[in-house]
């Protein structure tokens, strides 16, 4: 068995397939953070004055905030002065046809072809490389439907009114430490606008790639769905394998007006660090959706397999009457990975409904915490919530923790919480093996079964990818 274990470990070390670096001429801002740096950043992006001011306001607020320590995470000190806040490929393409072949190759390797004729037909992609968007596909087709899908930088220049109206309206600049930092230094991200009554004709997706050393990625995404519109948006992320930790602090804001639906799916595969916990991405993300209109619906689905640290609570503010919020999550921690993730469902409108399905998987020395808030305000007559929170342990050194917070101010609200913790039992493994399945296949099959409720919420292509990712991430978890 000993030799076999080595084989498994070797395979595992090989297996972060996205861990390569693209050798491309990159323009950096020198490391460090100050008002000057923010002004330079803003200038590089040709931003209007209001944007620069917005950033500075956020920065000044950030300076007054303490680093949050309430999460069940062990985080080394982050030296914000050692990070470069802007890194971008030097050559700036005017259109997709001009994009540096090296970049195209990078995305091909990651399975995200940027050629519109290529296999991802039917999914429009915005590719964000370090601090900038390097291309967005299917823009013409989308524009015909009235859908705006572009990089945030472009939106700030071209759709200033919309951006000004909605940016920061869900996650205010001073919302929390990392959101404030993001507001000050965000570099790029995606902007989506679906006009009234339009069902977005294809899946939209953003693929985030960190490439440069000693940089942080601070993307900002804003999705606005007007009355009775629908959009399904996917997000994927990878980074090279490095011994230093890299910071990723994103903010995502969703706005759903009356009868609108937004489905937001994430497959997060940032570099998780090695088996001893060296390197990996620090992933501090604020995601929040505002069900602003009556009967609107926002649904978050996330599969979190990467990052050394994940700190992330995609939430829904259920403001509109009869609005619905959903959160489906699979979070996996292996080796020395840590995750503190969950959601917040804030019931404000009448007859608002929320559903939370969280699946935590811990292997190796991984630590996995679910942290979730269900809050029912006095105004939320007829509010209902259902929470199911399951943890699966693989091995003896990992941990699973559940921190549910429930605040109910309406006497007739219905709030249900179910939680289970289980282990992959020797019985289950032996049963599978006695039928002919190898140990690794048996584990991934059991895990897949455990995650089923969440996987079925993902768009098909993503469900397949998510499943594969879990398999790769769990290699060497038993034995």
């Amino acid at each position: 068995m000993a030799t076999e274990r080595n084989d498994i470990e070797n395979a595992l070390n090989r297996r972060y397939e996205a861990g390569f670096v693209t050798d491309i001429e990159t323009e950096y801002l020198p490391p460090g953070l100050s008002e000057d740096v923010i002004r330079q950043l803003s200038a590089k992006k040709n931003e209007p004055q209001w944007m620069t001011d917005w950033r500075l306001k956020a920065y000044r607020h950030w300076l007054t905030m303490p680093v949050p320590e309430w999460a069940k995470l062990r985080i080394g000190p982050i030296d914000f002065q050692a990070i470069s806040y802007y890194a971008a490929p030097k050559a700036r393409p005017k259109s997709l046809d001009d994009v540096d072949p090296k970049l195209l190759e990078t995305y091909d390797k990651l399975g995200v072809p940027l050629h519109e004729r290529a296999k991802l037909a039917g999914v429009a992609v915005d590719a964000v490389f370090d601090s900038v968007s390097v291309g967005t596909t299917f823009r013409k087709e989308l524009a015909e439907a009235g859908v705006i899908f572009c990089s945030m930088s472009e939106a700030i220049r071209e759709h200033a009114e919309l951006v000004q109206q909605y940016l920061g309206s869900v996650v205010p600049v001073g919302d929390n430490y990392f959101a404030a930092l993001n507001s000050a230094v965000f570099s790029d991200g995606s902007f989506v606008f679906i006009p009234k009554g339009v069902r977005c004709p294809m899946e939209l997706s953003t693929y985030f790639r960190i490439n440069a050393m000693n940089t942080g990625q601070f993307e900002r995404t804003l999705i606005v769905a007007e009355d009775a519109s629908y959009v399904s948006y996917l997000e994927g992320c990878t980074a090279p394998q490095r011994d230093e930790n890299q910071l990723h602090a994103a903010v995502v804001e969703l706005v759903a007006l009356a009868d609108a639906q937004i489905k937001y799916s994430t497959v997060q595969n940032w570099y998780p660090g090695d088996e001893n916990g060296v390197g990996g991405i620090y992933n501090f993300v604020t995601k929040r959706g505002d069900c602003r209109g009556a009967r609107s619906k926002i649904s978050w689905t996330q599969v979190e397999t990467g990052s050394a640290i994940t700190w992330k609570y995609p939430s829904c503010v259920l403001r509109g009457d009869d609005s619905t919020g959903e959160f489906y999550s699979v979070a996996l921690t292996h080796h020395a990975q840590q995750a503190d993730t969950g959601t917040k469902m804030i019931h404000i409108g009448r007859n608002t409904k929320s559903k939370i399905i969280s699946k935590g998987i811990s292997a190796g020395r991984g630590q996995n915490s679910y942290r979730g808030l269900v809050k029912v305000e006095k105004s939320a007559e007829g509010a209902r919530n259902y929470t199911q929170c399951d943890s699966l342990l693989i091995g003896k050194k990992c941990g699973a923790h559940t921190f549910p917070y429930i605040e109910v101010k309406h006497p007739r609200a219905i709030v249900e919480h179910e939680a289970t913790t289980s282990k992959i039992s020797d019985d289950q493994l032996f049963y599978c093996r006695s039928r002919g399945l190898g140990e690794e296949d048996a584990v991934s099959m059991i895990v897949d079964g455990f995650c089923k409720q969440v996987f079925k919420e993902l768009p098909m292509e993503f469900a397949v990818e998510a499943k594969k990712l879990l398999e790769v991430s769990l290699e060497g978890a038993v034995g």
């Binding site: 140990e439 296949d441 897949d448 995650c451």
Partner: protein, 255 residues
């Protein structure tokens, strides 16, 4: 096909099997009976390769392979099947999907081509028809929420689909009503063939009314203490296991 010689097995430091010998030829059905704690289930588990059993002496040949050197999944692919006394639940994993993966893993090991979904479904339909199992079981998660009888039926269904060379039924009759028992027996009888063997582990003679064995062995205190034809089971039923003990006593004192 299967040759067990002088098998000694310890579980948690305690010797359970103490020099067991058993030879099974293709086409034969062997029944293994014996009192509680005699080591019947240990035998099944050791043959299937469950962890936690320390083999201190003895050999087991399966065809031309040294069975004890193989991983559980390799034993399965070599054609050994254990129908569990307590089939395990795997929530969220579709029964059909599970079986297809298992069958294809075995086929791959044997260098056979894997079955695609259509071919597999065709095979499933065939087996279902023979076993009179409703296909509703197929759409559910592996054993999850199954009744005791359904779990045992599912084991037999798996056996039928995987077509092992040697099937070991570990107290498959326990907890079954007479109808389910008949169904299990029918499944086994249908699979009996000149190149397939069965080891039926059971407490009670009842199952052997339906699955008629070629040989009956009594396992007591970690050894086969008595072997005979099917009439041995009837005698056991009549006299109880104490009868065996008494018959063994003189031999015992001689040692």
């Amino acid at each position: 096909m299967l040759k067990i010689e002088n098998l000694h097995v310890r579980v948690a430091g305690k010797e359970i099997l103490k020099g067991l010998n058993l030879t099974v030829k293709p086409g034969e059905v062997h029944a293994i009976m014996g009192p509680n704690g005699a080591g019947k289930s240990t035998l099944g588990n050791v043959l299937a390769g469950r962890e936690g059993y320390e083999i201190t002496a003895g050999t087991v040949d399966f065809g031309d392979k040294d069975l004890l050197q193989l991983e559980p999944e390799e034993r399965a692919a070599e054609g050994l099947f254990l129908a569990f006394q307590y089939p395990v639940e795997i929530p969220g994993v579709n029964n059909t999907y599970f079986l297809k993966a298992a069958l294809n893993a075995q086929r791959k090991y044997r260098g056979e081509s894997e079955l695609d979904s259509m071919q597999f479904l065709k095979l499933v339909r065939e087996k279902l028809r023979v076993l009179h199992i409703s296909d509703e079981l197929l759409h559910r998660a592996v054993n999850a929420g199954f009744s005791g009888g359904e779990k045992k039926r599912n084991e037999i269904f798996q056996m039928a689909l995987l077509e092992p060379r040697l099937a070991i039924l570990d107290e498959t009759d326990s907890g079954l009503d007479i109808d389910a028992l008949k169904m299990v027996a029918e499944g086994v009888n249908h699979m009996r063939s000149a190149d397939r063997a069965f080891i039926v582990i059971t407490h009670y003679q009842r199952l052997l009314d339906y699955i008629v064995p070629d040989q009956v062995h009594v396992l007591a205190e970690g050894r086969i203490v008595e072997s005979g034809d099917k009439t041995l089971a009837l005698k056991l039923e009549e006299h109880g296991y104490a009868w065996i003990e008494q018959r063994r006593l003189p031999e015992h004192s001689a040692v």
